[in-house]
């Protein structure tokens, strides 16, 4: 058990720290400000071009073939510099890398990893949330193409996406989990309409809603085999539950650091309950950092993630909501006098974490039956 940097890790850390000293774009938090997403592409490509993104992914697709634990260093240094977190798209990379053909990987992974091509994820529908497999969007073969009709929701950042990794029904004649396939659908075409929803904290860019009405996708853009869609979707969502894949440690730790700075600047202005909520948020954020160290270390000998991602998702959710509550506590009356208060927005956004990527209740079902081995009703 060793938490120290190896010589190679230490060298990487120093190089990254030096680069960050001159290249921190100082974006507002993604969870509280639409401006973040307007400038996120810039941040993604800058981080990538400097050689600090896609660390553990294959070099032939633009990654660096480094051990997974390098992402811990990236998260730690981003936090220390007060820089934005790394782009959260590891789960898409994992999905395409696990299920895509060589041609699909060569075509799509480099642009996804470099940030030159923007992606969104079209899974949920208005009537298919937790029961995802009941989705009704169809992909119908028409010569060398498929024609897409349906309605996707919670399609994060769909308005700026070049591609959508879309889960659609290709075979209505088989059991609901078996008739699904996944496509890389080009988003700039007629037949696609964007109707974003406003989140409870006022953010308008995140909750995409996309209507597909005769949109077309080349048959060659199918990722995996026909009917492999459910398995591919499960690969993606299980990785989407892993804080190590998402890089959220840096986001939470950054907020905690800001809260600590606020209190430290004027200790007399804060009561014991406010101080305790900030200290507890620090404990929670530290827990997640260390938990990610452990999980990414486990992957060093190729331990594949499984239902354990649901444990990590719940831990991550508790951290985000603890940090959100601490922000609200520190802000005190400001959070109710000013509807644009950043702490208020942080708090309100945190409530979504127990829903997005699979609700906490779904995660607990998975943990109980697949990890604890409890009987199903």
């Amino acid at each position: 058990m060793d938490f120290r940097d190896s010589p190679a890790e230490a060298e990487f850390r120093v190089r990254l720290r030096d680069w960050l000293a001159g290249n921190n774009p100082g974006l507002p938090a993604s969870s509280t400000d639409d401006e973040y997403w307007a400038r996120q592409a810039e941040w993604h490509t800058a981080l990538y071009d400097a050689g600090f993104f896609g660390l553990s992914w294959p070099s032939r697709f633009g990654g660096h073939d480094l051990p997974t634990v390098f992402d811990v260093i990236l998260d730690e240094e981003l936090t220390a510099a007060g820089a934005p977190p790394r782009p959260s798209l590891g789960y898409l990379v994992q999905g395409i890398d696990t299920h895509g053909s060589e041609a699909i990987k060569e075509r799509f992974l480099p642009g996804l990893i470099s940030g030159r091509e923007r992606w969104c994820q079209g899974f949920s529908e208005p009537d298919a949330g937790s029961d995802l497999a009941s989705l009704r969007t169809t992909a119908t073969r028409d010569g060398d193409e498929y024609v897409i009709d349906g309605h996707k929701i919670w399609t994060s950042y769909s308005d700026v996406a070049d591609w959508c990794i879309l889960l659609a029904r290709t075979d209505p004649g088989v059991a609901k989990h078996k008739g699904l396939s996944v496509f890389a659908v080009p988003m700039h075409q007629p037949g696609i309409e964007q109707r974003p929803l406003r989140m409870i904290n006022g953010i308008t860019t995140e909750f995409g809603q996309v209507l597909f009405d005769g949109a077309r996708v080349p048959a060659d853009n199918m990722i995996g085999d026909p009917g492999e869609g459910w398995r591919l979707a499960m690969t993606i969502v299980s990785h989407e539950r892993e804080p190590g894949e998402l890089g959220y440690v840096a986001r939470y730790a950054k907020t905690v650091k800001e809260l600590e700075r606020v209190v430290r600047a004027d200790p007399g202005a804060f009561g014991s309950d406010q101080r305790e909520s900030v200290a507890w948020a620090h404990v929670q954020a530290e827990m997640l950092r260390l938990h990610v160290c452990r999980r990414l270390s486990e992957r060093l000998d190729g331990v594949e993630h499984g239902p354990g991602g649901s444990i990590d998702k719940l831990l991550m959710t508790w951290v985000e909501q603890t940090v959100g509550s601490a922000a609200l506590a520190v802000s005190g009356p400001r959070a109710v006098l000013d509807g644009d208060d950043v702490a208020l927005k942080t708090y309100l956004y945190s409530r979504a974490q127990s829903v997005m990527g699979g609700t906490s209740q779904i995660q607990k079902n998975i943990i109980a039956t697949r990890i604890l081995g409890l009987p199903t009703a």
Binding site: M287, I311, I367
Partner: protein, 360 residues
């Protein structure tokens, strides 16, 4: 970075869990089995685990905080009723004071159980508590102020000098050392570092911070073991106990409680592992801060996990015969020892947020 167990650590973990499983009480009634408890104590002694933090010959410990935490975790997992953390903490403190450890020594704690008792005069002036004493314990260490630091001193705990306390934890011995017990010098046979033969070394502020880091790490590791153990017991019960013709563990309401417990245990393992590594690999203040984070998280988590275990066992869980309260009780002691979650948060606030208004 590679936070996995080394091959040796993995082997120690297996060995400790095997021994703990074979020799721990299977039932509450089993706590009274003196043949078994004697075998357990002998096995722990034979394994050399009580010496893990003793002087390895160069002033450093024979083994790391990680190894000691692995054993504490394993013994917690089965509520093993044997002294371990107490003697290990005493050996570590004696090593820092430049002396060979007295076999069976433990440390006397101040009444708040947060730190070693400090005694200024020739006799104890308040009751102090020797936590996790062994059956052979004859001596408890206390601290005596000396300049900017402290010297190690001893009080007798055998015979009439102390009273075994009917403490909350049914698996460990707490000795109450009353006021008026004489304090004597610790004679040091082996002197390491800069000490003078026969006197030992002054314990500095850093020594005490490092020692507290070990205490926080070991009590956190024990809490992780307690959570794992009580969760295993409870999951097995929920899968077996039938109501409405089905196992109660098939009900979502019960499943979700147990799923939350599992998450709390996993998060606790992550913080506690780091704290145990930090003991020997970070500076004293950073190591103690890592211990505070671990202890704050593990104490809160263990309380919830043990309370959930009582709840899922239903009425039986509230009876003396059901073993889950043995876990809960031991978790209460492990949480309080070196300071519970509220204490750790207050100290973290002081370190990270500055002094609160009106307080120094």
């Amino acid at each position: 970075m590679d936070t996995r167990d080394t091959a040796e650590q993995a082997e120690l973990r297996r060995a400790a869990r095997r021994l703990a499983r074979d020799l721990s009480p299977a039932t509450v009634a089993g706590l009274d089995d003196e043949t078994r408890t004697a075998r357990l104590a002998a096995a722990v002694l034979d394994a050399g685990w009580l010496e893990l933090r003793s002087d390895g010959g160069d002033g450093g410990p024979l083994a790391g905080g990680v190894e000691a935490a692995i054993v504490a975790d394993a013994l917690g997992g089965t509520v093993a009723d044997v002294a371990f953390t107490g003697p290990v903490l005493a050996a570590d403190l004696a090593r820092r004071a430049g002396g060979g450890s007295t076999e069976g020594a433990v440390v006397a704690f101040a009444p708040d159980l947060i730190d070693a008792a400090v005694v200024s005069g020739p006799v104890t002036t308040t009751p102090v508590y020797a936590l996790d004493a062994g059956t052979d314990s004859s001596v408890a260490y206390v601290l005596v102020p000396d300049g900017d630091g402290h010297r190690l001193a001893r009080v007798p705990v055998d015979g009439t000098a102390s009273i075994a306390t009917d403490g909350t934890d049914l698996t460990r011995t707490i000795l109450t050392i009353p006021a008026g017990v004489p304090v004597s010098e610790v004679s040091v046979s082996v002197v390491a570092g800069s000490g003078v033969a026969g006197q030992g070394r002054i314990l500095t502020r850093d020594d005490r911070a490092s020692w507290a880091a070990l205490g926080l790490a070991l009590t956190s590791a024990e809490l992780v073991g307690l959570m794992r153990g009580v969760l295993d017991v409870t999951v097995a019960y929920a899968a077996e106990r039938q109501q409405y013709g089905v196992p109660v563990g098939s009900f979502q309401a019960v499943q979700h409680l147990l799923a939350e417990s599992r998450c709390l245990m996993e998060g606790s393992l992550s913080v506690a592992s780091y704290a145990s590594w930090a003991v020997d690999n970070l500076g004293p203040d950073d190591a103690r801060a890592a211990g505070r984070v671990a202890k704050a998280y593990c104490a809160r988590a263990a309380r919830t996990v043990c309370e959930t275990a009582v709840q899922v066992h239903g009425g039986i869980g509230n009876t003396w015969e059901c073993i889950v309260h043995v876990y809960l009780r031991r978790a209460l002691l492990a949480s309080q020892w070196f300071g519970h979650d509220g204490e750790q948060l207050r100290q973290l606030e002081r370190e990270r947020l500055g002094a609160a208004h009106g307080l120094s």
